[in-house]
Symmetry: C2
Subunit: 76 residues, 2 copies
DNA sequence: TTGTGACTTTAAGTCCGTC
DNA sequence: CGACGGACTTAAAGTCACA
């Protein structure tokens, strides 16, 4: 899986969801990273769909945002 | 993340969901692997929660099972 | 048909920084 | 605050032989 591939993928949709929810709560990437126990640069990479996130980290982010995982995949 | 850790995690719940759905459709791990474009043993590892699956592979499996991703996280 | 250990390759994920 | 890069460590991806 190439880091630079442009396919309109689930990763992009997921990143958009995370960003939208983060902004709605007025959190910086740094704050969200802190809450999720992840690194600040990594949150940015997820939002830009540069990394293929694992299930456990999906859960950490969902928890940090206080949303259900299903909310992050709504129209899928 | 230790392969042997016993934490009742999201990985276990996900594996159970996949197995339940696979059996409901009377598919072998091998058949599902073929449909998903993944390896036979890998599907087994996912069902037994030995691998922290990434989002793209979650999608492949959901597609192969013809279910929505949200269905695989229903009561989360 | 599935589980498991061993294994190599690739990518996830961290941490430093600059713009 | 966020995008992005380089270098790095750890873990996932992916495969195999055999139980």
């Amino acid at each position: 899986m190439n880091k630079k591939s442009k396919e309109k993928s689930i990763l992009i949709l997921f990143g958009e969801k995370v960003r939208a929810e983060r902004l709605k709560q007025h959190l910086s990437q740094e704050k969200l990273a802190e809450k999720a126990g992840l690194h600040r640069t990594y949150i940015g990479m997820i939002e830009r769909a540069e990394k293929n996130i694992t299930l456990e980290n999906i859960k950490k982010i969902a928890d940090a945002l206080k949303v259900k995982i299903t909310n992050l995949f709504e129209e899928l």
